[in-house]
């Protein structure tokens, strides 16, 4: 983790969705989708947000951009608290923060040409004359590896990989400082994923954009990310540099998650299925540490006390009772 002031800082971000049922639509429960999220991203770097379905990673991305209103918590962009902004100010700020969606087909209007799709975001933000906008779209298409004359074609004329390039172009045309990409690779074939990953790295290097990459593919996240946050039931359980988290995972959940990925080496020993059971319902998260019901290293304290996200000596942050106060004390002394 770098010491420079992060471009995005998230503190205590929380969203509970109310589940209604019955004839009267009474509240029958709450899904704790995101439950006190603390993350930060530095300029020009990539934070990978990983976890299994229901961990809250997609909701987190939408909360950060206020596509969904959070119940609690703050999001600071370049030091400014986004929650304190009015809707119109938020729209202005959103120029700097763009979203890339998973399904490049569903997120592009089939009745609009590629040029119109991209121009729409420029018009919404009141940018340029028609001529200037065309020029800007042409430049952007070139930087995502498409030809400018493609702006007059419709989405169905493009392959899946090209459509995802169009989705990235639409985010890129506003020259944002932060792009949140939610599963940008999962609809693409292996041979196409590589070229989209290379494109994401290229535009990051060229324009200094910070990325939040939300994905379930752990190898792709490692490849693209500088830092990685692992989520479980709405909370970050571990956050560290990609190098450290993949070579020295600390949280028992991170370890199991990584060991579950089928290795591309047929000779690699199989460490599978050491995890018991399934992810508990986020409507009824377990007491104490949310992972204790499946954890192979659980202790008595784990069902009683929720572990805080604490910083260890090597800078990694982990929410787990295995790492006691002595580890944290050692970290504090090292930092002094």
């Amino acid at each position: 983790m770098t010491s420079e002031e992060p471009i995005l800082k998230v503190r205590g971000l929380t969203k509970h969705f109310i589940v209604r049922g019955g004839l009267l639509g009474r509240e029958v429960g709450r899904v704790r989708a995101v439950d006190g999220l603390d993350i930060e991203v530095s300029s020009g770097r990539t934070l990978g947000l990983v976890g299994e379905s229901g961990c809250g990673k997609s909701t987190a991305g939408r909360l950060i951009l206020r596509l969904i209103e959070p119940d609690a918590g703050e999001v600071y962009f370049e030091g400014r608290n986004l929650q304190a902004n009015s809707a119109s100010e938020m729209r202005r700020l959103r120029r700097n923060m763009q979203f890339v969606f998973q399904d490049p087909f569903a997120s592009l209007n089939p009745r609009m040409t590629v040029g119109e799709i991209i121009e729409e975001v420029l018009i919404v933000h009141g940018i340029g004359t028609r001529e200037e906008r065309r020029e800007r779209i042409a430049t952007t298409l070139r930087s995502v590896g498409l030809r400018p004359e493609m702006m007059d074609r419709y989405p169905h004329e493009f392959s899946g990989g090209q459509r995802q390039r169009i989705g990235i172009a639409r985010a890129l045309v506003l020259e944002p400082k932060l792009i949140i990409a939610d599963e940008p690779l999962s609809a693409l074939d292996v041979s196409v994923q590589a070229s989209v990953m290379n494109l994401m790295q290229d535009i990051q290097e060229r324009f200094g954009i910070a990325f939040i990459l939300i994905a379930h593919d752990l190898a792709a996240v490692e490849h693209l990310s500088d830092d990685v946050a692992v989520m479980y039931l709405g909370r970050v359980v571990e956050m560290a540099s990609a190098e450290s988290i993949y070579s020295e995972p600390k949280h028992p959940y991170t370890r199991i998650l990584l060991a579950s990925v089928p290795s591309l080496d047929p000779r690699a020993p199989r460490n599978w299925s050491r995890i018991e059971g399934e992810i508990p319902s986020p409507m009824r998260p377990p007491s104490g540490c949310p992972f204790h019901t499946r954890c192979p290293s659980r202790m008595d304290v784990c069902s009683q006390k929720k572990p805080a996200l604490q910083t260890l000596a090597d800078g990694a942050r982990v929410a787990c009772h295995l790492y006691g106060e002595t580890d944290v004390e050692a970290a504090r002394q090292l930092q002094q």
Partner: protein, 342 residues
């Protein structure tokens, strides 16, 4: 794998051409492979490569009106499935051949209890009474790792989680102790920790029942960890087939090598740092045109003149790979073996 046992499934020059809005699609174009008892064969490829159509064709599950042309032989336990009547096929499917699909929610019947769906084939194929079938269903649910099986047996598919539904579908598939299990993307819809549990379960059952398993997937990690032999499909054909370890150690087809190089490897960041991936240029060809050249030629960085003149036949490399390529790569360093013709 023991080559002395005769294959439970032998697919020979299977051809399936399908009608589509854009004309005839050569979805499967001369596919051959064998599966022996207790052996897992991985069929891996990208979308549109023909791997799922191959599975559906083996089980005669493609509606007749969609088929433009069908050729080749599919021998199951020595009998040709292609010549069987619908009735004969039904007595084999769900009995001697079990099937698991990607999305259990769409393959399970939403209005029947899990127990009924497992019991159905036991009553039909094994002549059990309803009571016997229910007891056997409970035993099977327990075997595939569904807790409180005696209660779950009376529940409906929507009451189970995605992982539990996939376990229930496996219980249905193995109820009659099949000789062959066809698993089409069985873990694609599942989270990675659940995927590991399901793959382990399929592997255990394979050994218990001495089944042959056809593992169809787009995930190379899944075949690396489960398959004894692996066949890589591209544009309706198997372009390379070999023992799994040998295929991953030294791919002979430039497409296999290209895919393996395009994938990021877990746990390599600390060593490799930030780096670019190797791309495969271009896109998958349309399967509507008849081809007189290698389907991969346009995207291949090892292309020689011969590749544009004809479709390559299967050749055997020194490392025992069956490969459809005029210029296969040598196992070490992946240099070209043949230097002629370019």
């Amino acid at each position: 794998m023991s080559a002395d046992r005769s294959p439970v499934l032998s697919v020979n020059e299977l051809v399936v051409h399908l009608h589509s809005g854009e004309g005839l699609v050569r979805a499967v174009d001369g596919v051959s492979f064998d599966i022996r008892p207790g052996e897992t064969v991985g069929l891996v490829g990208e979308s549109g490569s023909g791997k799922s159509i191959t599975a559906l064709a083996i089980m005669s599950l493609i509606p007749k009106k969609n088929i433009g042309f069908r050729g080749g032989r599919v021998l199951f336990d020595g009998a040709d499935l292609n010549t069987m009547s619908d009735g004969e096929m039904r007595s084999i499917r769900g009995n001697q051949i079990g099937m698991i699909f990607q999305e259990p929610m769409t393959s399970l019947n939403p209005v029947l209890t899990i127990g009924r769906q497992i019991g159905e084939s036991l009553v039909r194929h094994r002549g059990m009474s309803n009571r016997e079938a229910e007891l056997e269903a409970i035993r099977l649910l327990d075997r595939v790792g569904i807790p409180s099986a005696a209660e779950r047996v009376r529940e409906y598919p929507h009451q189970l989680s995605g992982g539990m539904r996939q376990r229930a579908m496996i219980a249905i598939a193995i109820a009659c102790k099949p000789k062959l299990l066809i698993a089409d993307e069985p873990t694609t819809a599942l989270d990675v920790t659940i995927q590991a549990q399901i793959l382990e379960l399929i592997d255990e059952l394979k050994r218990e029942l001495n089944m042959g398993v056809l593992m169809i997937t787009h995930n190379f990690g899944v075949v690396a960890q489960t398959a004894n032999r692996t066949a890589v499909m591209y544009a309706g054909r198997i372009v390379e087939q070999a023992e799994t370890t040998s295929l991953f150690d030294g791919p002979a087809h430039p497409y296999t090598a290209g895919l393996l190089a395009a994938m990021p490897r877990l746990g390599t960041k600390a060593l490799a740092g930030r780096h670019r991936l190797k791309e495969i240029p271009g896109i998958v060809p349309r399967l509507t045109e008849a081809r007189r050249h290698c389907a991969f030629a346009a995207r291949c960085n090892h292309r020689i003149q011969a590749c544009l003149g004809a479709q390559p036949d299967i050749t055997l490399t020194a490392t025992g790979h069956q490969v459809r390529c005029f210029a296969p790569l040598s196992p070490v360093g992946q240099e070209r073996v043949l230097e002629h013709g370019s």
